[in-house]
């Protein structure tokens, strides 16, 4: 498994989490697949590099379920690119996934935090 030139490791993401990341990133505006991957990398400060074998299935899956919609557009240098954008249903799904994630991270934080001191311990 080749490492990135900057010595970073790739982290494999759970499918549900990937959906959340994609939807959230698209909230900032429509993007094509490559741009999305770049933005995720940037937003996570190079920690998360989603490889194409996970990204594109996720995109097509989300498109099939109606959370995102896709269109062909012309890019600046007159090449065709497929651009994805969030739909109304997608916004709802994002909100739900987000609250689920927050619940989960609170729960894990609670476990990882030092235990509350007992009076008599």
């Amino acid at each position: 498994m080749p490492k990135d030139e900057r010595g970073l490791t790739r982290i494999e993401l759970l499918q549900g989490t990937l959906d959340l990341i994609v939807l959230q990133t698209l909230r900032w505006g429509p993007r094509h697949g490559y741009g999305l991957a770049q933005m995720i990398r940037a937003s996570s400060r190079d920690v998360l590099q989603v490889d194409t074998g996970s990204l594109y299935p996720a995109l097509h899956r989300l498109e099939k379920s109606g959370a995102i919609a896709a269109e062909w557009e012309m890019s600046e240098n007159r090449q065709r690119v497929r651009v994805y954008r969030l739909t109304t249903a997608g916004r709802k799904q994002l909100a739900a996934e987000r609250s689920r994630w927050e619940q989960l991270s609170e729960a894990i934080a609670g476990i990882l935090a030092p235990p509350v001191a007992d009076g008599d311990a």
Partner: protein
Amino acid sequence: MRFPWNRRRREQELDEELASHLRMAVAERVARGETPAAAERAARREFGNLGVVREVTRETWGGGWLERLAQDVRYGARTLRRSPAFSITAGLTLALGVGATTAVFTVVNGVLLRPLPYPESDRLALLSYQPKDTPWSSAPGLADADWLSFHRGARLFERMGAASAQLVTLTGAGDPVRLPGAAVSADFFATLGVRIARGRAFSVDEETDGRNRVAMIGHALWRDRFGGDSNIVGRAILLDGVSHTVVGVLPPGLAYPFGAQVWRPLVIRVSPNLSFMLSVVARLRDGVTSQQAAAEIASVAGGAQPHSPGQAPRVAEVIPLKDTVIGNARRSLLVFAGAVGLVLLIACANVANLLLMRAAGRHREMALRTALGAPRRRLIRQLVTESMLLWIVAGALGAAMSVAGVRALLALAPSGRIPRQNEIGVDLAAFAFALGVSLLTGLAFGLVPALRATRPQLRESLAASSRGVSSRDGGVRSALVMAEIALAIVLLAGAGLMTRSFVRMRQLELGFRPSGLVTMTVDLPAASYASATAMRQFHEVTLAQLSRLPGVTSAAAVNFSPLGGALVQGDFQLTGGRSRPNGFLAAKPSVSPGYFRTMGIRLLQGREFTAEDGARAPGVVVVSRRVADAVWPGENALGRQLSMKDKPGPGDWLTVVGVVEDIAQRGLNGERDAAIYRPTAQLDETFFLEHMTFVARAADQPEPVLTGMRQVLRAVDRNLAVASIGTMDATISATVEEPLFQARLIGVFSAFALLLAAIGIYGVVAYSVAERTHEIGIRVALGAVRTDVASLVVRRVLVLVVPGVVLGIGGALAVTRVLASLLFEVKPNDPATLAAVAVLVLATAAVAALVPARRATRVDPLIALRSD
């Protein structure tokens, strides 16, 4: 919403999308300062396996199974085309198996499974109200008085119609011909729900004497004898010499009841002494059960005519119409279905074996593909698809062949013995059946080879020598062949038993000498022959002329000829307070002088009838041996007296003047009937004289005698039609037509099964020899002689065949019990037949193994050891 047929466009778009991703990645790297070549390499590396990404993304689309199926089918077709020997052998075997099965299914469906061609035919039934436990069995029927009262009074039936069988002579439209016909009530066809093709059915007022000179004819008759005349309705035709007006033509294929081709109105003349039985068809009201209907019959008819004491109690029955039409065919048909099923199994086992042997040659390919990452499930799916392709194509071919098969079956079958013959045809149901059978057997028999072929033992498969012959599946293959042998034995045993049964029937001693006998049956119409005297005169004249025919040694006449299908049986009274044994009945034929001599029936005591035994002479009878033994055991029957009347007066006593051997009257079932013969000259009832069979013994060839008899008849009365004419041998053959047909059919199936089993044995043994070539080479090099090698092969064959034979005999003992009712004087576990079958199979196995054995003995050790 994207649809499946846009799939190719979606694939192209995905490719474009991924390509653009890669392009942008390269562009960015170049913008950052990398060389284009390095950027390209790095970007591709980072991108990953394009093919995998494409696959994985496509999978999210769903619906990929259709794609994969199409791919598998194309691949399967390619591989099948590449090995034509295998494909053709397997395909033909399967086609024959499926074709035979479909043909039998078509017949079974047409006869047993499909409903009758009348609307809501499950509500139709035959009604019966008559004594049940009498010595003579009778068809369901209602007495005419019961019919009349019932027709008016029954609530649970929607409609009813009555019919009575008749034989009519049609003249004036081609040669005079005797036709089966029926007298039917006005609502008979309405009850069945038949639509009259032309004209109309009878009306109620035509059911009376004087107004019943109307008739309806069948489609075939209309076509053949009246040329499809479009003005047939209203035309006059001559039935039994009387002019009848045609009022209607029935649709094609309708010959109900009794195979009738002409119908007349039923006229009921109720008389206190004589009651006629009618066949009554009724349509039950919706929701009425047979029991309810039967109860109603009993109450209505029984109430109207309470039965007299001393008469056996009458039983009401409501029998579904379909059962009466099917009759006895059910059992034979099910036996055929079972037999052909076995053939199909054997064919499939053979093909499965071929597949296994072929798969063994492909295990390197499978191992390679597995190593390259193909999931086992995919490989199995591909192999199964290939098998199914083979099976379905073969099945379609077989279905096409079944059309010819059905035609052959119906042609070979005894005519008229397969009920509803004109309703049988290869149709959608048959094709669906063929397809279903192909799919099922293809799946079942294709799965195991596929599983075996893709077993994950990569290392040894890849490392195996390139010979491609492996001993991996030897066990399964042997098991398959053993099963084939066992099944073939079951079939052969069945065929052997039925053949023996048929031969036994054919060789039966009948009590008279059939070879050389020629018979001609004539029915005298009442219109032209009104009195017994007229009839007797006809018989005398005809007999005299027949005796004078060249080539005829002797001629005689009998009213109820043996094996003639008609018989009168009854009881008789004895003198001196003697009573005949309980339930003892005798046939009562009347014969002309010289009958026994002509027929070759042995005279045991006394004398035959002569010309002196005329109308004014004392009444005489000749009895058969059984009568003499039963009534006057140990005494001399000659001179004793008996009477045919229930209450004999002084002039009604007949003297026994002769005792003859018993003969088979009713059929080839091994039984000889007791008979009391009277001379025709002494008979007065026209009922006993109107149906007469003339028998003549031909000195040489029967054909000229047959022609001569026809000419005599035409000379005596031009308007008479021959009811039937032929040699007695032919009549006997017709009686055994059915067992012959059954034996032949099962014989054909079992021959095919044996051939397939032989091919299976050959295949396995040849394979075994091929895989042991190396070993044989070593043995020969070390000094083994031909016989040693041969015994190797023989041992292999025995290991294969003997368990199969043992299994088969066991199976035959279990299965052939089903045939018991179809066999005559042969037990289902007849040891001679089973032994013969076992020997036959062993011999066939020996022959099948001959070629591989010879090849084994010819193995050149140098070549064998070198090819590694």
